[in-house]
């Protein structure tokens, strides 16, 4: 009985080994800073991710050329995209779509345009690039991503790109040597706080050959954190304190500038 089970396990393992893609590379990455603090003088920050492409086994051959795509996704949020139309001469929000649990920050960083790295089918399957990243919309009772040229999706990506929250850069990844790379990750000034996932994908000849992940955390620090936390969790107290502050400053003003 025990021997039978062992044989079964071994044969299962052998099948798994045969099915797994023959990976010859692995990625080793290191982020310059895993924790970004948003303080009162925060105006954005550039993070740097360093990495190397290493052979999976000793003396395994490496390929001539690699492509690298890094996808950074910020904490999820739900947004409404509204469309204005002219009604009786004025512009009014008429139609709206809700984008459910989409990243508040999305950066697709690569060494050349993602369209040139892999065929569209591969990009779609791996969700690489702004065109192929899954952005679910609430449509009726359920949620689904639409075709990529859906007007609301296009407008959403355009607005987020203008805000600096979404970006696709074909020059953010630099290969220092054929196997050593540097990735610049720009965080804008209005970066949301929370956990950010970094997904690093290595391509060769249009195929995914290796993949690794990393993460970073953006936190509000010091006074900013205190104020934001108070406003969210102690609304009444926060409001009263703000009002009292107004009265104090008003009173102070009348005392300082008193002329009698």
């Amino acid at each position: 009985m025990g021997r039978h089970a062992l044989t079964l396990t071994l044969s299962g393992f052998a099948i798994l080994c045969m099915l797994a893609p023959a990976q010859a590379e692995r990625l080793v990455v290191s982020l310059s800073n895993h924790r970004v603090a948003v303080t009162s003088n925060f105006t954005g920050e550039d993070l740097v991710l360093f990495g190397t492409i290493e052979p999976d086994r000793p003396r395994a051959a490496l390929r001539d050329a690699y492509d690298l795509v890094v996808t950074v996704t910020g904490p999820r949020q739900t947004l409404r995209t509204r469309r204005k139309e002219r009604v009786l001469g004025i512009w009014v929000n008429i139609d709206a779509r809700e984008f459910v649990r989409v990243p508040s920050y999305l950066a697709i960083l690569s060494n050349r345009p993602v369209g040139e790295i892999a065929p569209a089918e591969t990009l779609r399957r791996l969700q690489v690039g702004l065109d192929y990243f899954l952005l679910p919309q609430r449509i009726g009772p359920d949620t689904a991503d639409t075709v990529r040229d859906d007007p609301f999706r296009v407008a959403f990506v355009k607005l987020e790109t203008e805000n600096g929250a979404y970006r696709e850069s074909a020059s953010a990844v630099t290969f220092l040597t054929p196997t050593v790379f540097r990735v610049a990750i720009p965080l804008p000034a209005d970066t949301s706080t929370g956990n950010y996932a970094i997904d690093v994908k290595l391509f060769a000849n249009g195929d995914l050959v290796a993949r690794t992940t990393s993460a970073l955390e953006v936190i509000k620090a010091g006074f900013e954190q205190f104020v934001a936390n108070a406003a969210q969790h102690y609304g009444l107290l926060y409001g009263i304190v703000t009002s009292l502050m107004a009265l104090m400053i008003g009173w102070f003003g009348s005392v300082v500038f008193r002329r009698d």
Binding site: E224, A231, L236, G250
Partner: protein, 307 residues
């Protein structure tokens, strides 16, 4: 110097915001108004979302009207019983305003309602002020004396029941229009982020015949309390009051108001009203322009929630 605003979630130049506070404070001191109708649009213009702007300006107006109210209180130019009666309705108005504000935000029509209300209110009030002061100027030019307030002149408002006597203002009026005015000022203030001083003063003069000696002081007390309570209510329901932004605005506003008041005292009343009328009208036109002209981008985003 950039400073990061914790609730508005964006960095602003501290000197720019302080300068805006000073400029609006100067104007508010000069004309004896809160200046919310200028401050809210300015904040929206530098990229702060309308909702945060409206909620934060409320506390800024509370600070500037506090300074004013204390000054008038020292001069005994306040009618406390009248202010209290206006207030009792004003608080109800503010609460209803905050409720409608939340509702409009839910259905994506807050910006439209703010825009439309600004256009209607500001062009109407500005137009009336310009008209009135131009006629006063013309009368002065022709050498006629301007018509003084006749104590005996009554309008339909004075025919209403529930009469109350206000000793300091020397008026005997029905409580109904007093409540009506208090309610509407509180309501408008909470939705539009304006103190309503520029509406309240004319209303008190025309409807209730409150004498000029007590009208500004009384209106400032009302503004102070409605705006302080609007701050608390906005903080509780929408969590949108940015205390840091408000603090910078307040400091600028209180200093600016002092210099504005000195400049204002050197000018003639009619001239001052004409200037204010032009200013109010221009801001109204600016909003009308925004509603009518096709926006650069037909689409806009609004944050629903962070899961």
């Amino acid at each position: 110097m950039q400073i990061y605003l914790p609730i508005a979630d964006l960095p602003v130049n501290i000197f720019l915001v302080l300068g805006m506070g000073l400029a609006v404070g100067f104007i508010s001191g000069m004309f004896g108004i809160g200046g919310g109708f200028l401050m809210t649009p300015l904040l929206i213009f530098i990229g702060i979302s309308p909702a945060v702007a409206v909620a934060s300006v409320a506390s800024h107006i509370a600070a500037s009207s506090c300074t004013g109210a204390i000054t008038y209180w020292r001069k005994r130019a306040l009618d406390i019983p009248l202010a209290m009666m206006l207030l009792s309705a004003g608080i109800v108005g503010t609460a209803s305003g905050v409720w409608l504000f939340t509702l409009l935000r839910e259905v994506d029509q807050l910006d439209l309602v703010i825009g439309l209300s600004y256009v209607t209110l500001l062009t109407a009030v500005g137009g009336l002020m310009i008209n009135e002061s131009v006629q006063a100027e013309l009368r002065a030019h022709r050498g006629q004396r301007s018509t003084l307030r006749r104590p005996g002149s009554h309008n339909w408002v004075h025919g209403l029941p529930l009469k109350v006597r206000f000793k300091r203002s020397k008026i005997y009026v029905s409580a109904i229009p007093v409540w009506g005015i208090g309610f509407s000022i509180g309501f408008i203030g909470a939705i539009l982020g304006i103190g309503g001083g520029f509406l309240l003063v004319p209303m008190l003069i025309y409807f209730l015949r409150v004498p000029t000696a007590t009208v500004i002081g009384t209106s400032m007390v009302l503004t102070l309390v409605t705006m302080a309570s609007a701050t608390v209510m906005h903080a509780v329901t929408n969590h949108l009051v940015d205390a840091l932004l408000a603090l910078i605005l307040m400091v600028g506003g209180v200093i600016g108001a002092q210099f504005g008041a000195r400049t204002g005292q050197k000018m003639r009343g009619e001239r001052l009203r004409l200037l204010l009328g032009l200013l109010v009208f221009a801001v109204g036109l600016r909003f009308a322009f925004e509603l009518v002209v096709q926006p650069d981008d037909l689409y806009s985003l609004r944050l629903v929630g962070k899961p």
